[in-house]
């Protein structure tokens, strides 16, 4: 590698200061996170409440899908409130 090669390679480390307006335009172009739609502020608590209600009324319906295979589902399906207690 001769002097010219070394000098050319060294140019890759050269820097040009960014003008403030350019920095501002670049940072200003960041994607903005989309705000949660207004309806979601009502919908999320409502969905949570509905889930809790279903869980209270019919625990098996909630537990069964969370368990593994069919055998476990069958075992759970015959559970009564007394078994759970």
């Amino acid at each position: 590698m001769d002097d010219l090669d070394r000098d050319l390679r060294a140019l890759s480390r050269a820097e040009a200061p960014l003008p403030p307006h350019l920095r501002g335009r670049i940072v200003g172009g960041l994607p903005r996170p989309r705000p949660l739609p207004r309806l979601a502020w009502v919908g999320l608590p409502a969905a949570l409440a509905a889930g809790l209600a279903i869980g209270m009324l019919d625990p098996v319906a909630v537990i069964a899908p969370l368990s593994g295979g069919e055998a476990e589902f069958a075992d759970l399906a015959v559970l009564s409130w007394e078994d759970l207690e």
């Binding site: 010219l4 920095r23 960041l30």
Partner: protein, 195 residues
């Protein structure tokens, strides 16, 4: 407090900063821009023969593309953000040249022997400035090939794809560009410490 949080961000690597920036963290984006921007701007300006305004537009567009890509950036598989930025910016710069109607064939040798003021600029600069001036004095296609090959370190097949020419053309352009650079710098060889 602001200073302390900013210093914390400075400790993060480029991937972590990009992840935060893609989530809308302006401070992380600012740190990443300050870290990668100056070198990128110098590189693009060099490719564009010193056209600072166009170089700024290219740098801005490259960063905006990085923000958009940042949301699903694969830190394990993708290139480093800086490497990715340089490649995208180089392609953007060359695309602009092509869209502006620059004809490589005409640009290649039309001004090869009359680079006005090139030697005068060489006389005024130091070693790096002299080299930048000599590069700016090269015919555009030779300058692009030499910069991509010898400054940015791309392989000839990559440069061929970026310039939309054959590999042999790249070899010829870099060879001619280097010879011309040496000729431009020759008169100041000893003064610049090449003797």
């Amino acid at each position: 407090m602001w200073r302390g949080r900013r210093d914390d961000l400075s400790d993060l690597d480029d991937h972590a900063l990009l992840r935060r920036a893609a989530e809308g963290d302006g401070r992380a984006a600012g740190v990443l821009v300050e870290r990668l921007g100056p070198r990128l701007l110098a590189s693009v300006a060099r490719l564009l023969g010193g056209d600072r305004a166009e170089a700024e537009d290219v740098v801005q567009e490259a960063f905006l593309r990085l923000w958009r890509k940042g949301a699903d950036w694969d830190a394990g598989g993708a290139a480093a953000p800086g490497t990715w930025l340089h490649r995208v910016a180089a392609n953007l710069a060359l695309d602009r040249r092509r869209r502006a109607g620059a004809r490589w064939d005409e640009l290649d040798d039309a001004h090869a022997d009359d680079a006005p003021g090139a030697e005068a600029r060489l006389m005024a600069g130091e070693r790096v400035e002299a080299l930048e001036a000599a590069l700016a004095a090269l015919p555009e296609r030779q300058r692009v090939a030499v910069v991509l090959r010898h400054v940015e370190g791309y392989a000839n097949p990559e440069i061929a794809a970026m310039m939309d020419v054959g590999v042999e053309a790249v070899e010829s352009l870099t060879s001619r560009g280097r010879r011309r650079l040496a000729a431009l710098l020759g008169p100041r060889k000893e003064e610049l410490g090449h003797g």
